[in-house]
Symmetry: C2
Amino acid sequence: MRVYLDNGATTKTDPRVVQEMMPYFTEMYGNTASLHSFGQEAKEAVEKARGFIASFINAQPDEIVFTSGGTESDNIAIQGVARALSTKGKHIITSKIEHPAVLEVCKHLEKEGYEVTYLNVDKHGLVNLEQLEKSIRKDTILVSIMFANNEIGTIQPIKDIGEICRKHGVYFHTDAVQALGKVPVDVKEMKIDLLSGSAHKIHGPKGVGLLYVRKGVKLAPIILGGGHEQGLRSGTTNTPGIVGFAKALELSKEPNNMLELRDRIINELLKIPETILNGHPTQRLPNNVNVCFKYIEGEAILLHLDQAGIAVSTGSACSSLKLQPSHVLTAIGLPPEIAHGSIRITLSKFTTEQEVDYFINNIKRIVHNLRELSPFWKNR
Amino acid sequence: MRVYLDNGATTKTDPRVVQEMMPYFTEMYGNTASLHSFGQEAKEAVEKARGFIASFINAQPDEIVFTSGGTESDNIAIQGVARALSTKGKHIITSKIEHPAVLEVCKHLEKEGYEVTYLNVDKHGLVNLEQLEKSIRKDTILVSIMFANNEIGTIQPIKDIGEICRKHGVYFHTDAVQALGKVPVDVKEMKIDLLSGSAHKIHGPKGVGLLYVRKGVKLAPIILGGGHEQGLRSGTTNTPGIVGFAKALELSKEPNNMLELRDRIINELLKIPETILNGHPTQRLPNNVNVCFKYIEGEAILLHLDQAGIAVSTGSACSSLKLQPSHVLTAIGLPPEIAHGSIRITLSKFTTEQEVDYFINNIKRIVHNLRELSPFWKNR
């Protein structure tokens, strides 16, 4: 039995999404910039997808810029605002638990003379709205706070953040890569100016993402060329990828039992002694579980689960090769030795009860066995 | 009958390429950065593809960086060298007939204080090697000259350019998007330091490209994040796209009769009076024909051909929505009124004799009819 519970890293492309993409590989394969009918039929498909995706987040079609993925979207948003507004100011506010696609860009901008405030989060991973508002200065040009955290699943009070930013006339970007297609996203109601999304986290294809750019927002492109996507992202349009992204979003509305299965996992895991749930108990992604089993290593758990055919992760896939404990778990106050004992279980709409049971049985066995071998456990 | 002769804009994805990609959508869909077996099987597929592609151009696997396409590759190469070597110098040499993905980046760098020399080309579209060598200064950090032109198909003396650059210790980047998979590319023999390639021009999928970076070349990334692709291009690896790219390159070695069909088209079109072949008579891409029919508009020809089910282009797809005459045709010395009468016919390995005959019959009829209606033709 193979059980994939690492859907926060990436997901299986839904076969219905692949089906939808197929004609755009071998039949309607024209370049959307071409004037002939091969080009125009591809363009129509892309514009139809753009319209659907726009309405999905309550945006206008011309506010959607297609990119190669969430990382590129984050880069365009942050570098783009930084360069476009550098004469207005050079101060950016973000949080300590952002994805590397946000944090690394901010660190880079610091080297270029920008100033970045990294907000603390509480033990559940929430930013403090008062601290946010106090951090806004005259030269603040952007606030970038993720919609939902990729490691611990905590969902930020996005609408409140949006209102604070709008009140102070500061652009608000949110990395919604983990949230889009899992929790309601309404860019107007939430007063979001820029939003990053990705297809492959919701059973769409890898290699395609979006950046919502509210009309009027000033942004400098970072990839230059033929002037595609209103000049904000040059490069031949990835028609099959975009069509697949729209289909994946459409299918994300199907009813599923992720929430119920998530809570079943949480309840069962918390029965194991000396186990902590990381992230917010209720304000969290419907598919995310993140727990620490004290006295043992997350990586050892991962490898033993892998031997049983089960895929989970320690931290996020993006940082799986790093030796430091997760910056997110550190930010919520976990000491390194406990952070190292954490694993992330992320479900999908395809996850079944049988798979969850198989996982629960195995993790209980593995945690028990590893602790039996752990001197820390015996001497606790 | 529908005949696609715009393969310079994009190509049909080969059904065998799609077949090769399929398992990586719905079965081996793991994130290559994940430590579990789902991740590792995806990683193995990517590394196998990387190895094949590297050997295809006589490079090492760790010299291949996967990107979202040719435009991004050009941007990383030029912006990347500019930023990495800005303390050494700020002078870049390129040509007047580059793709917008090169020219727009150069124009942007000029605004940032870099100096760019835009080399002239002769009437066939060739750069002058003496002029190139004379243009190299102490502060020159990069020469970027395309392998083969996307509009007129002219192939540059890449090896000679590479030798001049290596002699003077200047990095040589070449946009090989149109050349890769159509003419032999050997980065070692040709002394290329950086090379851009794209999958969708050779029956691979859209949304995936490569940048060859010779070991030791200094390059600053422009998309930051999780540190994928040796830190040069962050973002979740597009496994199906990369696997498809390798398959497309493999299949590009199949014998085909593009050259014969190209020459048949050229011969037949030149029988039409007052018709000029643009580009080099022999040093040109095996699939490229670019002609001017004097006294009529290229766009009118395109639309009439489209009505007959035939797709060609005026200039390149990337500039199809611009009103100015092509910068390439202008650079080879064509006056605007003649440049406006040009069309580009680009074949693929799937192009058949029947399709070529159908095209030739139709273009002869259309040119004749349009000229009958043209006052310029009557008063010539």
